[in-house]
Subunit: 767 residues, 2 copies
């Protein structure tokens, strides 16, 4: 039996009722009196010089209250394009009107003259010297660019056996690039340990492949929406559907050059985020500028089409990966060269290329990663940013090695996995980690060791590692006169984190879960909180909540000692009351009585404060096994079984943890099998859920979750962040299962039926 | 020069811009989507049995969404009358409709059958055995009731020289009452010290009079308004124009029998309160019940007429007062018998009758006070509840004694005033008090000692004492990355208290006042705060804010020590930065840098917590002098000079303190000269500002304020509550000035022109 009464329990979510009844207030539900409707005017070309923007006709339209362009940004920080557009849908202006239709009509009336430029959409095209350059100020043509040639040469393949025409063409082209000087490079990242040349030389087998992972959208249900209201004192209120209200606040302050105290950000209930709702995104600043100009509140809300054109999706990438191993299964070296599609701006998760290392003992590592500009919107985080892409390459290739040396893929992984005390690539040694336990747990649960497969059926396994982030947070706790408690904080709920915080407070105050309410404040009222992403919330806010509850408990015991005329040392808080443990019969006083008493004592009401920012996190592993059946005629893959284990440290709410494991696994499945942003030559993209397919409940069997608990020393009750790990291995799990079923190694996602059929044809495999 | 840089300064109010631009959100500005309009159905008789309430016709009216009566109150606690109404305008039902006109029409369609009962409006009539009894369960006819007869006999007058027909009649009647058994008594209060019989016997002169003070309304600009929204989970949100959101929360919880956690009260900007916005008043519970029944938000807003019929004004009273003194001016005994008009319910400020003691050394005291039921609405607090009434009697009579013994009224008061170390009637001895300093200050400022008066001109002086209350409070302070700070708390701003709290935080954090913002939370988010009344806010919340800022300062110094690699003892917080005082050249780090640093350290964001509830307060005196000119033909009194001094302990914001002194003095002037709720025989009242006159800026010269600062040991920076004292002496000041001008002692307020003319006729005085 658990030593705890509230944490560790499968309790219903605190926001369950408001979510299911529709009472929860999303961004689109915000409608301050006098609100106007904003519309962003977007580029109709993916690459063009802007010759002129003429708003005069639009201004004449009755009902139009404000039109803004970059000229209306006092700080001069780029909000709208002026001289040049870099992707189709890039914002050029914005309109606010009394009616959404008028706003749309006005947007159409704004005349923009373009000088159309050549478009580049493919990272491998974009780095060529012949490619159109997106940023004219890109002058660094020095050693780094030439380096790319050298790296491509290092990774030259002996034979071009890629399993699709596109991949084979890519491989061939990479050879040709070797003497080029590269352009459109937005960022780079290099990591090296040991000596890969030596490692490959000592290897019995060297496997090499090029992996192509498409750009995918976070496909949160609620499109971006902001409502801004600037009052006559200059105070700005922004209702934002965001993962990080405090980041929005500093982002707006920075962009507009105004003090933090003049901005209040109210986070509305999020209709999904998954990393796509961080920082100052798209709608916030135009809403503020329009409200300032119109003198009325303005809502700017994106359509689904705008989401696909101008959201900040996960970057696609091309990863060339080479691994060397001994014939008895020891991995000796791994080298990667990655080109990440960062779109029109810098960024993309290029640093995550290091995830190809996995949790394995690999003595020699060399990783070179580049961000590449293309005529697309910028990218942002998506659940374990960059990890699913890198791990897809790494874990796919591990299976190919296991196959070549004739070793069971699970045993091969277990043999190479690091354990407590092993050297960690980033430095230091591993703490107590649950890598092997987690992989063994999924293998046991899935029936791996006795697995059976009919014709065209196969099993795939993969693991993905991730370490939760950590950030600053503050929590206040108050105890009421009826013995109930209230939490006040500023972090956005990200699918259950409010519930976990509530459980922790109830646990420490020894009161029923239902007697604790949680309330989120805006940035003007709540203490600073880090953004809700990077799996930080339960770790950071859980620790913060513990500190706050412990602070309240100190005051409770102090009050009780005063009231019961005894010492704090003789007291125990239990079952919602303080008991004197040294007297018989026992004497006690309830929390409600103490809270009432506190209102008339010098020390005042019972309020606890927690403030926290940083403690080292501990890595977590997600391991998954899929059993699939592939129809060789149609190429369609059906998932027969999908089991996901994860080391969560400690499951504060096992039901919520299972929800995270299921959700992440399904998103990984979708990326593997169907999701893909497809850009046309003119820069257009599949802009809705008809052309951009996401899974439905009919696509998948129930994901079986297996919770492993290897406590994190600094996590609350040992908890690790659980949100991100489950998406990381699924891409490779699916590819490995398909390969096991029909002997086709798909290296370019998604594993669409037509691609499977093509691959079967090209490799001679068949039904 | 002051040792402080922010407190003690005349800084503009934090809410100045929102108030003057109309941006402040008052109750009537709250309009949630789908809101219905509520209307309270009120009794058309002042005293009647209810035979039936028929809502059927009203229910049929299109647009009506809910109708409630007492049957809809699940707890059974009285919200509406069912069997009997006790005053005209008493709530019987309420309606919610889609439009205010429909709600009003529906209210008219509700058919109520009455059996009309005799009405009693006058307290002296109500106590007679022949009077109609309001509460049939009033069975206590025992010793207390007979006691009243004895008390009246004790206070029998030698001669009936009252200066108005009404007073003379009252005096005569009181004699006749002596053998009666009394009824309609709602409450009683008795205080005795020494031996008044002996005191009177030893006195050279004994003065006796009966004072009649009318019921007056607080006349806040904003009528009562509540908006309630009950959601599907049962959670209730109430937007209330209130002085005490936490009291509203517990009031609603108690009335409806639901947990505190299910109610959130949001205090909207108050359009004046003055004591009339405490507790659960009138509109809140009907709004909640209507919203629960209709399933939509409901606003219930009173008209000005409803305010007069069913507000909770200040009680009127009849005070029979007798004072004995030696011929050289020592007061030996004072006895009072008071009947307070509590209307239909219990209460009225009967305990304040003890204020007739004043701040004088009076060895023998006897005070008997009764609350009396009449067919009027209940009463509530109004700025120093009960004190203006009692002090009017006490200070008027002091002047009569001074006149009889030929002593200067200021000197007479100074001679009898208590000072530090003197015994206090309530027990213990006086701390350091500023009674004499305050009276001397006003005398000096007004030019009392060289005062001149033309014909029909006169000077009046009076003093009033009051001690601020104290209550629980909580304050949180955060420091931002740009070095600014933010206060979060739950107490309502009562004309400048937010400004005072802001100054205190700025002072302690050593940052500019403009860099501190203050934000009020609702009861779901803010720590518990006592109601904003009883002059408690600056005392309680000021102390709480100090604790919070000091807590933040501790964390700031800790962080700086960590960051600068030194000890806290070597550090000083000054000018918004922490400086190492032990090194040369000095080294420092700004608050902004420390706040940014805090986001990445174990300890987390800079947040300070203050929790406070109780420290003894120190009494404060208000002293006022008026110079008037009375036109004997018209009876009109013109104020030529009005000077008000007040011991405020320490003026945290002298401009705000002056505002309080001016406001209180003007309200006292209004009560003295013009305000009066006049009830007709059928229970009707003068229901608007045409018939109920309040002063305009044309009625008065500028009130000259004189700030006296005798620090309160437990006040923040020595501050005492300043809101209530200034209203206390003005009623007597005006009466004493009129008496000095034309030799007419008005004992029944207000001092209306016609009353002055009558009095002049009756006493033979004239122009």
């Amino acid at each position: 039996m658990s030593e705890y009464t509230v944490v560790g329990q499968k309790l219903p979510r605190v926001d369950a009722v408001e979510k299911v009844t529709g009472a929860a207030q999303y961004g689109a539900d915000v409608h301050p009196a006098g609100m106007l409707y904003g519309k962003i005017v977007r580029s109709k070309h993916a690459h063009a010089n802007i010759l002129s923007i003429d708003t005069s006709e639009a201004e004449k339209l009755p009902g139009v209250r404000a039109i803004i362009t970059q000229d209306d940004v006092p700080s001069g920080r780029r909000v709208f394009a002026t001289d040049k557009v870099l992707y189709l849908g890039e914002p050029l202006a914005a309109v606010a009107a009394t009616d959404p239709d008028i706003a749309e009509e006005a947007a159409e009336l704004i005349k923009i003259e373009y000088e159309v430029l050549p478009v580049v959409q493919d990272v491998m095209e974009a780095i060529k010297s012949s490619a159109p350059r997106l940023h004219s100020d890109e002058t660094k043509e020095g050693p780094n660019r030439r380096d790319i040639s050298a790296k491509i040469k290092e990774l030259s393949r002996d034979e071009a056996d890629g399993n699709s025409t596109a991949i084979r063409k890519l491989e061939a082209e990479l050879e040709n690039y070797a003497d080029e000087v590269y352009y459109n490079i937005s960022a780079e990242s290099h990591t090296e340990a040991g000596d890969v040349e030596k490692g490959f030389a000592e290897s019995d087998i060297v496997v090499e492949d090029t992996y192509v992972i498409p750009r995918v959208h976070q496909t949160y249900m609620e499109p971006h929406v902001s409502v801004a209201s600037a009052d006559s004192s200059g105070k700005i209120t922004v209702w934002a559907s965001t993962q990080g209200p405090f980041a929005i606040r500093s982002g707006i302050a920075g962009t507009l050059g105004i003090p933090l105290t003049q901005i209040n950000v109210i986070g509305t209930t999020m209709g999904g985020g998954f990393g796509g709702r961080f920082g100052v995104i798209i709608t916030h600043v135009p809403a503020v500028l329009l409200s300032q100009k119109a003198g009325r509140p303005v809502r700017v809300q994106m359509t689904r089409e705008e989401e696909f054109l101008d959201g900040r999706p996960a970057p696609g990438c091309v990863i060339k990966l080479k691994t060397g191993a001994t014939k008895d299964g020891h991995i000796l070296a791994r080298q990667a060269l990655a080109f990440w599609d960062s779109g029109s701006v810098s960024g993309a998760s290029i640093g995550s290329t290091i995830r190809v290392r996995g949790v394995y003992k690999i003595p020699n590592i060399k990783i070179d990663a580049y961000g590449v500009h293309t005529n697309k919107s910028g990218t942002a985080a998506y659940r374990a940013p960059g990890a699913p892409q890198a791990i897809f390459a790494g874990e796919s290739q591990l299976d190919d090695i296991a196959e070549q040396i004739g070793m069971d893929p699970v045993k091969f992984r277990l043999m190479n996995m690091r354990e407590e005390g092993d050297t960690v690539p980033a430095g230091g040694s591993e703490p107590e980690v649950g890598y092997k336990e987690t992989l063994e747990a999924v293998a046991d649960a899935a029936g791996w060791w006795n697995r059976e497969a009919d014709k065209n059926q196969g099993w795939g396994v993969a693991v993905g590692d991730w370490t939760n982030g950590c950030g600053p947070g503050g929590v206040y706790v108050s105890v009421h006169e009826d013995g109930s408690a209230r939490i006040f904080h500023g972090s956005m709920d990200i699918t259950g984190t409010d519930t976990a915080i509530t459980q922790i407070i109830a646990e420490i105050l020894t009161i029923p879960y239902k007697n604790v309410t949680i309330r989120r404040g805006d940035t003007d009222s709540a203490p600073y909180s880090t953004g809700s992403g990077g799996s930080v919330v339960t770790f950071t806010m859980g620790n913060t909540a513990k500190l706050a509850a412990e602070d309240a408990r100190r005051r409770i015991l102090e009050l009780a000692a005063e009231r019961l005329n005894t010492n704090v040392d003789d007291l125990e808080l239990r079952d919602g009351a303080v008991h004197i443990i040294t007297v018989d019969p026992p004497k006690s006083i309830s929390l409600g009585e103490l809270a009432a008493y506190s209102l008339s004592t010098t020390g005042g009401p019972i309020v606890g404060k927690g403030s926290f920012a940083r403690q080292p996190s501990t890595p977590a592993l997600a391991a998954q096994i899929a059993k699939v059946e592939v129809d060789p005629d149609t190429g369609r893959t059906r998932v027969l079984k999908l089991v996901a284990s994860q080391d969560v440290g400690f499951a504060i709410n096992p039901m919520a943890v299972e929800g995270q494991i299921e959700g992440g696994t399904v998103q990984g499945y979708a990326w593997a099998m169907m999701e893909e942003m497809q850009y046309g030559e003119n820069g257009n993209v599949n802009p809705g859920f008809v052309d951009y397919r996401v899974p439905t409940s009919a696509d998948l069997p129930t994901v079986e979750s297996v919770i492993v608990e290897v406590p994190a020393p600094n996590g609350p009750y040992g908890a690790k962040g659980v949100g991100e790990p489950p998406i990381t291995p699924t891409l490779a799990t699916m590819a490995n299962a398909v390969n096991d079923a029909i002997g086709v190694r798909i290296t370019e996602l998604p594993i669409k039926p037509e691609k499977v059929v093509d691959a079967l044809k090209n490799n001679g495999h068949g039904a």
